[in-house]
Structure formats: structure tokens, C-alpha cells
């Protein structure tokens, strides 16, 4: 009985889904293509590979690079982007001394309360403060940015596929749609003559729908003067800020890698012992006594 009912239930679902398949196949056949081609699907570009010292199982942060990236954030990105999950005290992990962290915090203005009147005011930051937000609220952020909210950057390196490479490619990828060609050498203007970047938006093939509200933030070499004397090319600044955002997204990365190796080493040793123990125990069962 179970098998008779089951047989018909099975046929019901199989025929139902094959009916859907037939409908879909008919649509594909009548329109002549599997998937509609759009400017977004044909001309979106995957991020170019980016190599950072934090990559791979042995990766660890390069503090000088993180300090440079922090400088780029402070002098460029922070105008629009918050860093909600990071506090000034965290900067100690970048190799700054306690005094330097205090001075760095004090160079930022954070919201405060006037101790005499209780009114909202501003004050210099202390190491326990979090990085201040550039806009009072979402409405202010939208008003200043062509109706787009600049996203928080704390987790950006983990919140996009191939995060750091994406950040680097996006920052260096602004280009002119009129002359843009994709990896196959096809010209956007020829394939999609109607494609237009709406006013107030900027063309960037690394962005999912090709047009984004952020104007090119890194425009010329030397925009930031690095304290360690590294030449501040656009590529260098983009790489360093990507490295910095890997740290803000995953400050425990170095410790995680450092912890992982001894753990794996111990497990390997223990597993070899377990294997030998298993062999020894089973040797008794295999013995024939006849």
C-alpha cells in the first residue's frame, strides 16, 4: 500500500516538475536565448587579484601598511564613511604606543555632553571612544550623497566577495563608459548604445550595476603624504586602505593564524597516536587462533 501511494506521489511531483521544465524550455526556445544579456551581466568585471601580507594560512598584518591605510581612511574615506565597530583603543594593535593612541584619538572630534549644561556638544576623542560617524543620521547621509547612504566600512572586507581585492579594484576602477571594454574586448558603447550613467552617478565596472554614487575618491598620486615616506600612488593608497579594512573587519586574523598552527600540530600528533592505538587494539581481533 505504501508503495502504491508512493508511486503516485512520486509521479505527481516528477510530472509536476517536468511540466515546469517543459514550460521553461518552451520559453527559452521561443526567445532564443538562455539568459537575457544586460550591460550588468556582460560588462561587470571581477576584481583583479590583490596580494596582501595577511593572505593565506601564514598571513599576518604588516603594521606599517595598516598605518598607511589608516591614514588614507582618515584623510579621504572618513569624510563619508563610518567605522562603527572600531574604537581608537584598537589602534594600539597597529603598533602605535599608548601615547600615540591618545594623541591620535584626541585629533578626532567626537560627540559629547557639556558637563555643566547637559547639552550636546563635541569634544576631543579619548582611546575608549569609537570612531565618530560622518553624518548625524541616514537622512543627512542621503541628502549629502545623491540619495545613497555611504556604507559603514568596518566589515567591508568581509561583506563583499573577494573583499580586499574588490575594494582595491573599485577604488582604482573608475573609468569612462564611452571607451570601456570588457575582458573579452567588447566595447560597452557598441554592445549597449543606450547605456548611460545617470547624472550624479559614476561609472565603475567593478560595481555590481556599473554605476555608483561614490565619486572617485583617490584621484591623483600624492593625495596623501605617507608618514613613512612610501610614494603615495593611487594604487598604493588603494592597496593600503584595503589592507587596513581587512584589519578592521577581522582584527583577530593574526592571532587566529598563530593559534591555528599549534592546534593543528597537536591534533596531527594526537591523531597519529590514535591511529597507532587503533592498530594495536585491532591486531588482537585479527589474530587467528586455529
Amino acid at each position: 500500500m505504501v508503495r502504491i501511494i508512493g508511486f503516485f506521489v512520486g509521479l505527481f511531483f516528477a510530472v509536476g516538475v517536468l511540466w515546469a521544465f517543459a514550460t521553461g524550455a518552451y520559453t527559452v526556445a521561443s526567445q532564443g536565448y538562455l539568459k537575457e544579456k544586460t550591460a550588468e551581466t556582460e560588462f561587470h568585471r571581477h576584481p583583479a587579484a590583490l596580494h596582501l601580507s595577511s593572505d593565506g594560512p601564514f598571513g599576518k598584518f604588516d603594521n606599517r601598511q595598516l598605518q598607511r591605510g589608516y591614514q588614507v581612511y582618515k584623510e579621504v574615506c572618513k569624510a563619508c564613511h563610518s567605522l562603527n565597530h572600531v574604537a581608537f583603543r584598537d589602534l594600539a594593535e597597529l603598533g602605535y604606543s599608548e601615547a600615540e593612541v591618545k594623541a591620535e584619538a584626541a585629533s578626532w572630534t567626537v560627540p559629547g555632553i557639556d558637563p555643566n549644561t547637559g547639552e550636546e556638544t563635541t569634544r576631543p576623542g579619548t582611546p575608549t571612544d569609537y570612531f565618530p560617524k560622518p553624518f548625524a543620521n541616514d537622512i543627512a547621509a542621503r541628502a549629502a550623497n545623491h540619495n545613497a547612504i555611504p556604507p559603514d566600512l568596518s566589515l567591508m572586507a568581509k561583506a563583499r566577495h573577494e573583499g580586499p581585492a574588490y575594494i582595491h579594484s573599485l577604488l582604482t576602477g573608475f573609468t569612462d563608459p564611452a571607451t570601456y571594454k570588457n575582458e573579452d574586448g567588447k566595447s560597452l558603447k557598441q554592445e549597449f548604445p543606450d547605456f548611460q550613467t545617470p547624472p550624479g552617478l559614476y561609472f565603475n565596472p567593478y560595481f555590481a550595476n556599473l554605476n555608483l554614487a561614490m565619486p572617485p575618491p583617490l584621484t591623483s598620486d600624492g593625495q596623501v603624504t605617507f608618514k613613512d615616506g612610501t610614494p603615495a600612488t593611487v594604487d598604493q593608497m588603494a592597496t593600503d586602505v584595503a589592507a587596513f579594512l581587512v584589519w578592521t573587519a577581522e582584527p583577530s586574523l593574526g592571532k587566529r593564524h598563530q593559534t591555528g598552527w599549534p592546534v593543528l600540530g597537536f591534533l596531527l600528533f594526537a591523531t597519529v597516536l590514535a591511529f597507532l592505538a587503533k592498530k594495536q587494539v585491532w591486531a588482537r581481533a585479527r589474530v587467528r587462533r586455529d
Partner: protein
């Protein structure tokens, strides 16, 4: 119950004798996973995954209880409290990554455990109840994992919750009120997050309870084995301890190495980047996908793109998705072949591997965007999935001509049963 030749627990220390009179807990353990449980001597490494699944449950409960100490189940702060765990709680990142990757590891070992059962016919009499309880555990695991994924309140948490609870809306007449009642609102919000957290904390202990029943039911007929031939005499078995404790110890080591490689070196490889974006009801992600272990069922859900007579496409998809697991409950009665093990069933064995490939294809399609060619591929694969369990398995079990079985487990291991010495394991080897 046990085989007549099972060793008896004999406490030696005075305290253990005293305890055995008052509360025979050590005796229970001895008879469950100690020397008192005779197990077929020919189990291969496919039989390691039950113990590993139990280990994963303990791992998830331990890390989960610690995470719950620091997590705040409130829609306003849930995302931030997760980041607080990652940044400010001592070793919080380790606990959270261990828990998130632990969920994946749990599903890996449970899938292998289930497919072991498929291939070796572990669901067949007299172990139907073991199988039914196992499928129940799997359903509870799926519910627990789904609700756990909602807790960080990222974009995939929110939209995943919206899609899955939206499935209830497909039920005719009562669907919409039921969906609102389940969510405590029109969309996932604080009420939903709070009840998901509460249930996510509760269900693992329910799972632990059903696991006790699962093991209890297993100990009545005893473990199955790769030949599918039942235990006949003492020479067919070895005591669980030390033989299988040693083998499971090695298996646990291999498992932990793989698990820790993910945990320490690619903890986000199995997650989705969108879940590091705070939940935003106003912005739908480009592609809403569940965690990898739900991909095959998600593909089945999305395969039904056309209404079928009077049944709307969405309802078809929802029914098919739930049926795809529920059908496992009927497997002991769908497969009537008296031969258990796929080793001796040439036709069944081929279809088993087709099913494995079918599920991998469904998984790949479920993780891909809902566009062609993935939809059409998943439609073919879905049709095969249902035909496999409901049409092919019953037919194969009726017409297949199995290969000859060994006379006994001992013969399968040692060659000839005549030469095998009965009673060689009466006493634990010293």
C-alpha cells in the same frame, strides 16, 4: 537487551560497587558504548559518523551556550552584539567561528551518516525505528540551523527568514494568518528574532533527547554492518570498547584536523558575505541563498516554476521541498529487498550513485542564482530525486537479483566460517 555473550559489568572498586547498587550509571555507559555492547567486527570507516555527529552536537551546545552569554537577541543590537563577540569578548571570535563552522561540520557528518544508511540499507527491519528517529533528528537539526542563521541579523539572516517563513504563506486558506502568527508580525522583526533565539536554544536539547532514543533503539537489534548479514555468533562481534572506541578516536582526530583547518584558516569560506551587512528590510540582496547544507532542498523548492493544474507553483514547490525529506520516513517500506547491503545489490548500487550525483547537482543549482540553465537542470534533478525514492527503489527491490551473500560476518572477514573460532572474544584481550 544484548547478545547472550555480551560481557557483564563487574565493578571492582568499592566505590563503583556502591554506586552500581544505588545508581547504575556506569553500568549504563558500559552497556551502551563500553565492553558490554557487542558490535559486528567488520564495520568500516563509514560507521564512524554517528559518534562524530554526537561529538558535533556537544561542540555546538558548548560553544552555543557560551555565545548566548554574550549575544543580545534584540533586532536593534543583535548584529552589533555579534561583532562585540568577535572583537571584545576574550576568544569570542574562536567561539563564534567554532559554532558557525561547527554547524557545517555537523551537517557534513550527518549527511555521510545518512548516506551510509542509504547504501547499506541500515533503515531496513529490524532497525526501522532507528531510522525514523534519525530522520526526526535531521528535521530538528534543519530547524535549529535555520533559526541559528537568523540570529546574527545580517542581510542573509533577515531575507532567509523572510523566504522560509514565507513558505507557510503558500498553504491554502490558513497560510497568511499562519505566517503572521509564526513571525509575530508581517515581516521578520524583533518578535521573530526573540522566538527564534528561544527555540534555537531549546531544540538542541530536544535533539539530545531524540539521540538517546535513537541509540536506545539501535541497541535492541545491535549495529548493522557492511555485509548486511545479521550477527549469528560471538565470533561475528567484538566489544565496542576497546575496538570501536579506538577506531572512533582515530576518526575523531581526522575530523578535528579538517574542522580546525576551516576554523582557523578559512572560517568564512562556507558563509555568505552578505551576512556581514546588517539586516535591512528595504534592500533585497541580489541573490538570496541559504547555507550550503540547504541548497538541494532550495533547488527543489525553486524548481516548480509553473502551476500544475489547480496547484499553484509556489505550493507545489513547498510541498515538494518538505516531501523530499518526509519521503525518507517511508524508505523502510518502499525498499522491500531482503538484502540490506548495496554491496550485494548490483542495480540498487548504480542508482545509489546516481542519487549522490543528483543531490550534488541539486546542491550546486540551489546555491546558484535562480536563472537558466540552473533552473532547468534542477527541474530534471528534482524529477529524478522523487522517482528515485518513490518509483525506482520499489521497482528495483522487486525485480533485482542480488549477488550471493556471505554466510556470516566472520566468513566475510576471515574467509571461511569453518576456520573461524567461535568464542575468541569471550574475554577482553589483555
Amino acid at each position: 537487551m544484548s547478545f547472550p555473550w555480551a560481557q557483564h559489568y563487574q565493578p571492582k572498586a568499592p566505590f563503583m560497587r556502591w554506586l552500581d547498587e544505588k545508581l547504575p550509571l556506569p553500568r549504563l555507559v558500559y552497556n551502551a558504548i563500553g565492553g558490554g555492547y557487542p558490535v559486528p567486527r567488520n564495520l568500516n570507516y563509514a560507521w564512524n559518523f554517528g559518534v562524530l555527529a554526537g561529538f558535533c552536537l556537544v561542540l555546538q551546545i558548548v560553544t552555543g551556550v557560551i555565545l548566548a552569554m554574550h549575544y543580545a537577541p534584540n533586532a536593534l543590537v543583535a548584529f552589533d552584539s555579534t561583532e562585540h563577540i568577535m572583537r571584545d569578548v576574550n576568544w569570542g571570535w574562536l567561539m563564534r567561528y567554532a559554532h558557525a563552522n561547527g554547524a557545517s561540520a555537523f551537517f557534513v557528518v550527518v549527511y555521510l551518516h545518512i548516506f551510509r544508511g542509504f547504501f547499506y540499507g541500515s533503515y531496513k527491519a529490524p532497525r526501522e525505528m532507528v531510522w525514523l528517529l534519525g530522520v526526526t533528528i535531521f528535521l530538528l537539526m534543519m530547524a535549529t540551523a535555520f533559526m541559528g542563521y537568523v540570529l546574527p541579523w545580517g542581510q542573509m539572516s533577515f531575507w532567509g527568514a523572510k523566504v522560509i517563513t514565507g513558505l507557510f504563506g503558500a498553504i491554502p486558506f490558513v497560510g497568511e494568518p499562519l505566517q503572521i502568527w509564526l513571525l509575530g508580525g508581517f515581516a521578520p522583526d524583533n518578535a521573530a528574532l526573540n522566538r527564534f533565539f528561544s527555540l534555537h536554544f531549546l531544540l538542541p536539547f530536544v535533539i539530545a533527547g531524540v539521540i538517546i532514543l535513537h541509540i536506545w533503539a539501535l541497541h535492541i537489534p545491535g549495529s548493522s554492518n557492511p555485509t548486511g548479514v545479521e550477527v549469528k555468533s560471538e565470533s561475528d562481534t567484538v566489544p565496542f570498547h576497546p575496538y570501536y572506541t579506538a577506531k572512533d578516536g582515530f576518526g575523531l582526530g581526522v575530523f578535528l584536523i579538517l574542522y580546525c583547518a576551516f576554523l582557523f584558516f578559512m572560517p568564512n569560506a562556507l558563509g555568505h558575505p552578505d551576512n556581514y551587512i546588517p539586516a535591512n528590510p528595504m534592500a533585497t540582496p541580489a541573490h538570496i541563498v541559504p547555507e550550503w547544507y540547504f541548497w538541494p532542498y532550495y533547488a527543489i523548492l525553486r524548481a516548480f516554476t509553473a502551476d500544475f493544474f489547480f496547484v499553484p507553483a509556489k505550493l507545489m514547490g513547498v510541498m515538494a521541498m518538505f516531501s523530499s525529506i518526509l519521503v525518507w520516513f517511508f524508505l523502510p517500506w518502499l525498499d522491500r529487498s531482503p538484502v540490506r547491503s548495496g554491496h550485494y545489490r548490483p542495480t540498487f548500487r548504480k542508482f545509489f550513485w546516481v542519487l549522490v550525483i543528483d543531490l550534488l547537482v541539486l546542491g550546486y543549482c540551489g546555491g546558484s542564482p535562480a536563472e537558466e540553465p540552473f533552473v532547468m537542470i534542477s527541474q530534471i534533478a528534482t524529477a529524478y530525486y522523487f522517482l528515485h525514492f518513490l518509483v525506482i527503489i520499489p521497482l528495483v527491490s522487486a525485480f533485482e537479483r542480488p549477488e550471493p551473500l556471505p554466510f556470516s560476518i566472520t566468513e566475510a572477514v576471515l574467509g571461511s566460517d569453518k576456520k573461524a573460532v567461535l568464542g575468541e572474544n569471550t574475554t577482553p584481550a589483555t
